[in-house]
């Protein structure tokens, strides 16, 4: 049983003009994989990530996550899946302004019904994991770009998800800082979490075990090492 299994997945937006973001995509990811999806902008990689992460549903085709058919799940069940199995990291960090790093990370456990004290405790550990133990009480505006992305990663992993999806996590960072973020993600993978990253940076993609290239909504090739 694969952790994630896409078969003949297509996604189109009715428009006008009608856009076919994904066409007949077949993809599998096993537990413990580290996957980079690479492609130029507009190739459909963000749409693919949203469907992989149960944030969106395909127009046709089937998606199975942890052996559940996404098309048969209600909004509540889908949300439950995201809350418990999946962590997201975004290009623009998407931290809550005016809220400390610790509180931002603790939000990652909010929809699991975990009590406030335990949320903060686990958020502290998650921040230590990404190397930000000293920055817990800082506001996002007091952090550098790389530190903000680390906070976002801590928020994604605070609930020990099976899989973390990162959408261009290095897109807004310089090469050196970006490389540090990739280190954090690969360390996570080494600890057993499946990591799926979207990027248009060949160097970043080369560091992952599998590299799937996507072009005009179709999978154009795959390299695995």
């Amino acid at each position: 049983m694969s952790l994630i299994e896409l078969s003949k997945v297509s996604k189109s937006y009715p428009g006008p003009p009608r856009v076919d973001a994904l066409i007949d995509v077949d993809l599998r990811a096993e537990g413990g994989d580290s996957v980079a999806v690479i492609g130029p902008s507009g190739s459909g990689k963000s749409t693919l990530l949203h469907i992989l992460g149960a944030l969106d549903r395909p127009s046709t085709g089937s998606v199975r996550i942890a052996d559940r058919d996404i098309s048969k799940l209600s909004d509540k069940q889908l949300s439950g899946l995201r809350a418990n199995l999946i962590g997201f990291v975004f290009q623009d960090f998407f931290l809550l302004a005016g809220t400390t790093a610790l509180e931002n990370v603790a939000q990652g456990l909010l929809y699991r019904g975990v009590a406030a004290r335990e949320r903060r405790e686990r958020a502290g550990h998650a921040l230590e994991t990404v190397g930000l133990a000293e920055r817990m009480d800082h506001l996002p505006s007091q952090l550098s770009g790389g530190e903000r992305q680390r906070v976002a990663i801590a928020r994604a992993i605070v609930g020990n998800p099976s899989v973390v999806f990162a959408d261009e996590p290095t897109g807004n960072l310089d090469t050196k800082t970006g490389s540090g973020i990739v280190d954090v993600l690969l360390n996570l993978n080494a600890a057993g979490t499946t990591v799926v990253v979207i990027t248009h940076d060949r160097e970043v993609a080369a560091r992952f075990d599998r590299e799937i290239s996507i072009r005009d909504g179709r999978i154009a090739g795959e390299r695995s090492s």
């Binding site: 998407f94 302004a97 019904g113």
Partner: protein
Amino acid sequence: MKSRLLWRDTIGLGYRGILTRRGRSVLTAAGIAIGIAAIVAVLGISASGRADLLAVLDDLGTNLLRVTQGQGILGQSSGFPDGAAEMAGRIGPVSRYSATTLVDTSVRRSELIPELQTSGIGVFTAKDNLLDVLGGTMQEGRFLDAAADRLPVTVLGSVAAQRLGIRALDPQPRVYLGDTWFTVIGIVDALPLHPDLERAAFIGSTIAADLFDTTAAPSAIYLRVNPEVVEDVVDVLPASVNPESPDQVEITRPSDALAARKAAEEALTGLLVALGAVALLVGGVAIANIMVMSVLERRMEIGVRRALGATRGHIRAQFLIESTLLAAAGGVVGVLLGAGITVAFAINRDLTLAVPVAGLFGSIGAALAVGALAGLYPAIRAARIEPAEAVRTG
């Protein structure tokens, strides 16, 4: 595998949403606060006024009748016969009675003031028991008694004393009544049921007859009646006091005037409360407006929360709670403000302070309802935002 948000955390989210946009929250809640303050103040002030009015009614009683001579169909006025007051006094349920007779003269501060300048003060004869029947009290000095009946002394109503510029009896003031100096021996307290007597100067009937040829026929008779049978007494009164033309007798119950005033004030209160409700409604629309804007601005936050596992219901609850808390805060401030206005008003006007408890809780409830209603549409919109759309950056 479920998504679960604790109730405590939902409220915390709403609270945080308000706190992170402090300035805007204050302005938004101000609308609700003004509406609630208006309603609470109006209810409080009218309740205090009503408490006062009822106290006056209780004090003065509702069993006092005032009998006067009206005009016939041709406009002629015959006047009561001599002894009309005694006739009325003989009706069984009448416990006490007194009468006044209008004296055809004027009262002035001195002879230098023209005789026509009466300041609206009438001169009446009065018996020593008048005050007792009316339920009045003395502000200064004493009322007329048997000894004063034939002396040039007078007692002034409260308004009359004020208009004549007399505040104290020491040194003994004098007023020019007709063309004789009269010594003022007393000032009567306010008589809420008898504004005409507040503007009167009372003198004894003997000296009135001597100086001004005043007859013994009364111009107004005051009766205290057994409260149970007031209506029956009203039925037989005209024929008793004026057997010749009973149709010209006018009977009033001064407490009715107060009751009418109370009804009028209640109608006004209703109107003002309605105005407050309109302000509350406008406040609700303002909240709805701001919340719709807030939802648009917070697409990213909504997207992230959905990605973190929030259900549509969680997002809806968060925004609904936020608008309700906002309105509740406005409501609490409004109640405090309204209560403050009421207290200040009551102290300023020397009214008995009455707290309309139902009104207080009612207005908080109204604020909560307005907040929840105002938040409904924005909350539904927020919940409808597609998470994948909200987190898309390029």
